[in-house]
Subunit: 138 residues, 2 copies
Amino acid sequence: MRIGDLAARAAVSVRALRYYEEQGLLASTRSVSGQRLYTETAVERVTLIQSLYGAGLSSRTIADLLPCVDAQVSTPESRAVLAAERERIDRQIAELTLTRAKLDAIIEQTSRPHPRCDYVTEPGPARTAPGSGSPAGR
Amino acid sequence: MRIGDLAARAAVSVRALRYYEEQGLLASTRSVSGQRLYTETAVERVTLIQSLYGAGLSSRTIADLLPCVDAQVSTPESRAVLAAERERIDRQIAELTLTRAKLDAIIEQTSRPHPRCDYVTEPGPARTAPGSGSPAGR
DNA sequence: CTAAAACCTGACGCTGACGTCAGAGGCAAA
DNA sequence: TTTGCCTCTGACGTCAGCGTCAGGTTTTAG
C-alpha cells in the first residue's frame, strides 16, 4: 500500500509517516519511481508508535526499542529502558488518576449551590448560624 | 514567602512561577522593592497548576477554570470545560493502560529466551517441534 | 491524452512551557 | 562596606512533532 492509504488506515497524517521514517521508526520499500510502499503490518506498527508517543516516549527512545521488538530479543539496556518506561507510565497513570479526583472535587465544589448562603437566602424566619446565638437552643 | 522559597517548596523553577503569573494563573503581592511575595496556600495552588498541566490542559484552559475554583462557582461554560477535560483524562488513562499492556507484552516477548530456538540449540538428540513429527509423542 | 490527485524532496513555520542570558537592583552576614 | 546570593524585567533560545508551502514527478480516472 502507498503512503496515503497507510495514513488513512492508521489515522495519521502523511507528514507524520514521513517523519517516522526519518526518525528510523518505520521502514518502507520503494517503487521504481521512488514512492513508499508498505505492507499490512505497517498499520499496527504505526499505531504502536502512536501509542508510545502518546505515553510520552521520545522518537529516540522508540527508535532504540523497536529493533528489539522486531528481533524479539532484549539487551540489558533495552530491558532497563522498558522497565523504566513502564514505571514512568505507571506513575503517569497514578498522577492522572489523582488529577481526575481533584477535578471531580472541583466539579462538586463549584456546582454545589453556594455552601452556606442557602441558609441565608432561605425564606422564613431568620436563623442564626448553628453553634452561636442563644445558648441551649434545645 | 519569596519566589525562591515557593519554587523550592513546590518543586518548580522560578521561571515557571513567573510564567504562571504572566499567564494569570498565580497571583502575588509585591514588597516595597517590587519582589514577589506569596502566602502558604500558593504551594497548593502551584501543585494544582502542575497537575493540570500534567493532565494536558493548556494555560488558557487553566486560566479559565481557576477563577471558578477560587470563587467556588461554576458557569455553564466552566461546567462544560470541566466535564470535557475530565473525559479527556479518562480516555488518556485508558490509552495509557493499554500502552502499558503493550509494553508488558513486549517485555515478555523479548525477555522470554528465544521462543523455539531453544529446542534447536539444546544439546542431545534433535527434537522436532511439538505438534509435528512423530504422532503420539507421549 | 489530459486533468486531477497523489507522491516526492527540501525547507521553513508553529506552538507551548519554559531555559537562559543580560544588566540592574535588593538584602542578610561578617 | 564588601561579599554573595536573591530578585527584577525584558527578550531571545529551545525542542519535538509535526503543518505547510514550493516546485517538480507519477499515477489514475475519464
